[in-house]
Symmetry: D2
Subunit: 147 residues, 4 copies
């Protein structure tokens, strides 16, 4: 059996994505470096889209554009440390035109490590906002209401 | 003459810190990866403190605590690209108790690439907030009003 | 059921660890940034040790030291790209005194992306090499011969 | 006066490039994370080429190809720490066809932190090796013999 990458799963309208903290993620303060959480959350968003059937690399290669982050509000609640087992919980909020809001929390057990509101936009190869395909919007609407 | 690291400079109450974009900072979208800007801004804050006479490593080693980011609001205005010459402009806002707000903008010439409001707190070795030394607060107050 | 982080598995004396390529790992050349492979290989070595029962964080906190890389020979055979599914194959070679050699290959299907010989040493809190515990050496010897 | 990024300088046939160690470069072991040195050395090689008049981004955009690392031999001699002032010393070795060897050392004062032999190749947009322009080779030959 080939070994395939982990992509998390959907449960109760959220995407759950477990992450282990490695040396690469930490800093000399003994905790996770603050920018590492943005990498964790990007992995989770990418795999949430993958599981939902959105092919980011294909879309980029076909000239259908790619999502970029245009705003973030972050609240760091508790430090995470080497070897911690974290879970990124991602919930797609409002999708409209080119824009989409994703609510993300990084948890360690029942404790919130970081809360984020991430605003992304679909951008065409010309660098301009591009309306999100109706099929993508419908997929995410459906996932929100499923178990 | 030994080669010494660049630390930027203060001008009109702001700290200016020039940064070149290298391959390490970019992603397959052809632009700077969004989390790289947090690294740029951390470098600028660290050197702003260094120039102001705050010894972060010494404070950490003496058990006097270290600054951690507890909130960020980010607005990505324009993409930066490989080889771009950027300038991080940092201005210390309100300092009170353990908390300090730093306003940061990354510029490419006169164009704003990203705007950030970064909230940091001084944390002791026990993980609890710690009042910022009066000498540090006075230093930053003075720097704000100088040319 | 809680979501727990993926740690790979042992098979035929090797540790197998699947990795997805995300935007964070790539650069403006459209491929995986060369230093990202070192992060992939560190994750694989860390989880290989975790599965073998070696508690890196506990050892560091108890003052029993931690492994550091002191030499690497790397050969980049083929570029990997966004969304690729890779597998890191790690095989522990000679363990002697404080030193251990790990042979690692990153594969995409049957194609080798990078080959590495990684030399690590156990270092005590005083920064000096430290003899590896007999129990760790016996564990790795056993894993090499198991299916 | 606009603030411009630091690019190091040539002296006695070597490129010298000073680097400050920031939190982003360190890990929970309290030292610089091993893969961070690859980022430091890439910055130095990029600025060495920039100072020598090689326009990497322009070459990539015109379809003239870009340099990729295909082999590295690394020897980590001593750990560097937060706030350390390092200097990357880079010397171009043999250039032949598509290939070029760069000898790099990261120093802290007179102490060697890491030694590296980095083998790069110029790769065209088709992913195949491409003969380096004669003008580039002549430039580097001249820089090696200058003061």
């Amino acid at each position: 059996m080939p070994e395939t990458p982990y992509s998390g799963r959907f449960a109760a309208g959220e995407h759950l994505f477990a992450i282990r903290v490695y040396f690469e993620d930490t800093d000399a303060g003994g905790v996770v470096y603050h920018a590492s959480y943005l990498r964790f959350m990007e992995r989770a968003r990418s795999d949430m889209m993958r599981l939902a059937g959105v092919d980011q690399r294909g879309a980029m290669e076909r000239g259908d554009g790619n999502y970029v982050v245009y705003a973030m509000a972050l609240r760091f609640r508790a430090p995470a440390r080497l070897d911690d087992a974290l879970v990124v919980r991602s919930r797609v909020g409002n999708m409209k035109g080119a824009q989409c809001v994703v609510h993300q929390r990084v948890m360690r057990g029942s404790e919130t490590v970081i809360e984020a509101e991430v605003s992304v936009a679909l951008i065409g190869p010309d660098g301009r906002p591009k309306r999100q395909p109706r099929a993508w919007i419908e997929t995410f609407e459906r996932l929100k209401t499923e178990d």
